[in-house]
Symmetry: C2
Subunit: 99 residues, 2 copies
């Protein structure tokens, strides 16, 4: 087994790491807030959200507030489990540095 | 400042993370050994080595052992500093999960 075995390819991008990190500690976050927190462009954020949605790591919830569309995102059970495993794998790599 | 600001784009790949992680704790490692440790193909490893070499995070040292070519890799000072910063950024993301 290699040291990078449990590093999830789907999280091999800082923006995806950021999205998941935010959704692990906040149940629902809307697009605008994610954008502000990560300081990324609309297109960039949208493409990474799509990838995470496709793999069923996050879910999209569309609703209206004062007749304005409000799209919220949340991490799925699958996504939470996958991210935890990824974080554990990163922790193992970090521990190697401290020996 | 965003939580992903110090995540280095150049390390946004599990194989690069693996290469750097190995070179942080071993002064010199040859291609064959890196390949074994990371369980990746020649082409895949070579392309990520090239990217890290281009950004001067690793150096290549070519020599001969018993007339056979022996190519070794090592992390540069710049690479070590960049990887440390990246690891610190990952640690911050991990810490957020534990609150």
């Amino acid at each position: 087994m290699s040291i990078i075995d449990n590093i999830n390819k789907l999280f091999d991008h800082r923006i995806r790491l950021g999205i998941m990190s935010i959704l692990m500690v906040n149940e629902k976050v809307n697009f605008k807030r994610l954008k502000e927190l990560l300081e990324v462009t609309d297109g960039n954020l949208a493409s990474h959200i799509k990838a995470l949605e496709k793999s069923e790591y996050i879910v999209v919830e569309k609703s209206f507030i004062d007749r304005k569309p409000n799209t919220q995102y949340g991490a799925t059970k699958l996504g939470r489990a996958a991210f935890k495993k990824h974080i554990e794998a990163l922790e193992n790599i970090i521990k190697r540095q401290m020996k």
